[in-house]
């Protein structure tokens, strides 16, 4: 079929031109899902008209009109700002309080009733941003955060960068004292900037500094749409203090209708050509990074992989593919590929090549020389250039820009048209090979887990698999990456559902694990799931106060601290460098790298913030009862922490 199309003149050059012009246009997707999404997100501004009526306010008894004007604010602008957030269906605003948004804060409480948005009290803006990050991936909707325009934004900056690199939406509200008449002390001058969002401007999708309430409403809706249009990302809106605190003087305030954006699809002709390549490939391999946005994405990838009997390498930017499926394979399969399909993969160069971390930086090609690469995703719809998270450039043979999950149904359809019964029979012969490889790898992992099972410090295998044994029949959900403690969850937990893992941090900034977990757990709460965060001691110490937020808001979350008492990756880096330089390690590599002497008592730390905790658990025999006790607490609706003194990796 595709060949017929090409004979009509749609050659490669043609569809590339089409991709630029049409492939990124907002194309309505499937007949049902996108329309449903639009309908469910169609919201109207609840109160702007009533605001008009309310502007005719009464003068309190005993005051003259002039006195009332001087003393009181009857209908502050920040009430309208709360209306706007409600129209955007933002359920929460995570914040550390700041005087620059006292008006907004008061409006949430007394005008909005602390509902939609509801305040999540945070003890650091970095927690607020990371909570919003973790929440959005579970709840499938953004969370707002509110910050001081200068110091608050600077505190939030690192966690915003994680969200940006992870392509996760976040609605950032920053307060600023725009007019000098409002800057009543030197403090307020230091909390003011000409461009308050400048510290994070390189890694947010869009921002604005509205000069009126109507402007605020329109920019907020625009920002919301931009945040949710793939590639998703954080957006920022300034809340100017006078605008928040003064009486509303604008008439006819209205919030534009809020519609979820339709999704950009890959160029249909390019998808047809991709189907040609894949249907005729002898050893196709699929890579998926930030591909699946929900369970439908997982199911689509299973369908696609089974159609081709193609191994899938889940790079874990999202939960993309069930790890128990026989086509779930590891990166080594690229060496056998003749066609590689990369779905929302940020680092295609790194799939095809290996650059060794050694003094000579040896470069080798991992993929066969003739392997062709199809990229499908929005990674090339880039919106930043300073921060280099876009990775090294690789010229894919067939680059298709468009939302991969939305485009894959069309790829599947095109493949079905091309795969005859005879071809399907040939393809099915691949199954045994991958099933055998999968079973062997799983058995090897089980065997590997028994080594050091009874060791002290506790092995990472035992830490992870004793826990799994306790929760495997419950509705659990992991919230943090597992690559720093042996990847045991990926290797041996049965991960089937999209919500059971929550991807990676994006930018590998410390503090993500512990703090994003609180947001993820909040998203899981309404579903009654058991959220589990296994994270390191180093990560935890970046954001220890986030456990207070979990306790304060009764967010059930089991945190297991993989406490190897070191920034262990850095231990290995310095040790490796010393070996390269032939200086030995007899002088030790601990200074700067270990978190010991004194050892941190994470259980005491958590307890001090109202979190149930046990530990330090140093003996393998103490581990299981400690975990079981903590699980009981979480199942009763509260957070719990277990400090496990563990092997380095």
């Amino acid at each position: 079929m595709a060949n017929d199309d090409k004979s009509d003149g749609l050659n490669r050059r043609g569809f590339l031109a089409g991709a630029t012009a049409a492939g990124l246009a907002a194309v309505p997707l499937s007949k049902t899902t996108n329309v449903d999404a639009q309908e469910s997100n169609r919201a109207s501004a609840p109160l702007p008209n009533s605001m008009d009526a309310a502007m005719e306010h009464e003068i309190p008894g005993g005051y003259t009109g002039e006195q009332a004007k001087n003393y009181f604010v009857h209908h502050p602008g920040s009430d309208f700002m709360v209306d706007v957030l409600a129209a955007l269906d933002l359920d929460y605003v995570a914040l550390n309080p700041g005087s620059a948004f006292r008006g907004f804060h008061e409006s949430i409480l007394n005008y909005g009733g602390n509902r939609k948005p509801e305040i999540l009290t945070c003890v650091h803006e970095e927690h607020a941003a990371a909570i919003a990050h973790g929440y959005a991936k579970v709840a499938k909707k953004p969370m707002a955060i509110a910050c001081h325009g200068t110091v608050g934004i600077q505190h939030a900056a690192m966690a915003v960068y994680n969200a940006y690199a992870d392509r996760v939406p976040m609605f950032i509200l920053a307060a600023d004292h725009g007019g000098i008449e409002d800057r009543t002390s030197q403090v307020l001058w230091t909390h003011t900037a000409r461009d308050p969002l400048s510290p994070i401007k390189d890694y947010i999708k869009w921002d604005d500094y509205p000069r009126s309430l109507q402007h605020f409403g329109e920019s907020a809706v625009r920002a919301y749409r931009y945040a949710l249009t793939p590639p998703m990302g954080p957006v920022g809106i300034i809340m100017e203090t006078v605008l928040q605190e003064s009486d509303v003087h604008e008439h006819g305030l209205a919030v534009p209708e809020v519609l979820a954006p339709t999704l950009p699809l890959g160029d249909p002709n390019a998808i047809e050509e991709a189907a040609d390549w894949l249907a005729n490939a002898e050893s196709p391999v699929i890579y998926a990074d930030r591909f699946a946005q929900d369970q439908e994405g997982v199911d689509l990838l299973v369908e696609l992989a089974e159609l081709l009997q193609a191994p899938v390498v889940d790079q874990k930017g999202r939960m993309n593919f069930p790890n128990g499926h026989h086509l779930s394979q590891t990166a080594g399969v690229v060496g056998q590929a003749d066609v590689i399909l990369a779905l929302e993969v940020r680092d295609i160069w790194g799939i095809v090549n290996r650059l060794q971390d050694a003094p000579d930086h040896t470069l080798t090609r991992a993929a066969p020389p003739n392997a062709r690469v199809i990229s499908l995703g929005t990674t090339e719809v880039n919106f930043g250039s300073n921060y280099q998270d876009f990775t090294r450039f690789y010229a894919a043979d067939l680059p298709i820009a468009g939302d991969a999950q939305s485009s894959v149904p069309y790829l599947i359809e095109a493949l079905r048209e091309r795969i005859s019964n005879r071809r399907a029979s040939q393809i099915s012969e691949r199954r045994e090979r991958w099933a055998s490889a999968h079973a062997s790898r799983r058995q090897a992992s089980i065997d590997a887990a028994r080594y050091a099972w009874n060791a002290t410090p506790i092995s990472t295998a035992r830490m992870s698999l004793e826990l799994y044994d306790l929760v495997k029949d419950k509705d659990w959900a992991l919230t943090a990456p597992d690559n720093l403690h042996g990847s045991w969850e990926t290797r041996l937990w049965n991960i089937e559902r999209h919500y059971q893992t929550n991807g990676t941090s994006g930018a590998y900034g410390q503090g993500y694990g512990a703090s994003s977990a609180v947001g993820a757990a909040l998203g899981h709460r309404e579903h009654g799931r058991l959220p589990i965060c296994i994270t390191g001691d180093g990560d935890t110490m970046y954001v220890p106060g986030v456990h207070w937020t979990a306790a304060h808001h009764h967010i059930p979350l089991l945190t297991v601290v993989h406490n190897n008492r070191a920034y262990h990756q850095e231990v290995m880096h310095v040790q490796k460098t010393a070996a390269w330089r032939q200086r030995g390690v007899d002088k030790g590599v601990e200074p700067g790298n270990i978190i010991d002497e004194p050892a941190i008592d994470f259980a005491a730390l958590a307890r001090s913030m109202g979190v149930f905790s046990t530990g330090p658990v140093a003996s393998p025999s103490e581990l299981r009862p400690a975990l079981a006790q903590a699980i009981d607490v979480v199942e009763q609706g509260e957070p719990a922490l277990v400090d496990v003194v563990s092997q380095p990796r």
Binding site: W453, A455, T460, G486, D586
Partner: protein, 121 residues
Amino acid sequence: MKGQRCLSVVLSIAIAAAAVVGANAQDDARRDGRELYLDFGCHQCHGFEGQGSQASPPNPRIAPTPYPFEAFAAFVRTPVRLMPPYSPNVMSDEQLRAIYDYVAAIPEPPGIDDIPALRDL
């Protein structure tokens, strides 16, 4: 007869003493090997029991060692992948041998059937 018995007793004591000395020497060697294993930071990547890790970067299991000494030594001196080389300038042949003897003697862990959390996977 009496003389023979005395000789037998003396020999038994000598053998027992030699065994104790041998055991002590083995213990000393094992302790030295373990100390070197830790001093050189082998455990940082390969674990305290040499169990290895699939964490990033992945590191192979080295105990109970499946490799002959020559292969083990070659890998330490001239590794081909992520591990840095430990040259004789920083780790002598004797130290390398002591580390090898230590990891080779680490006992086998329990079997999968003896670990319920693994058996039931």
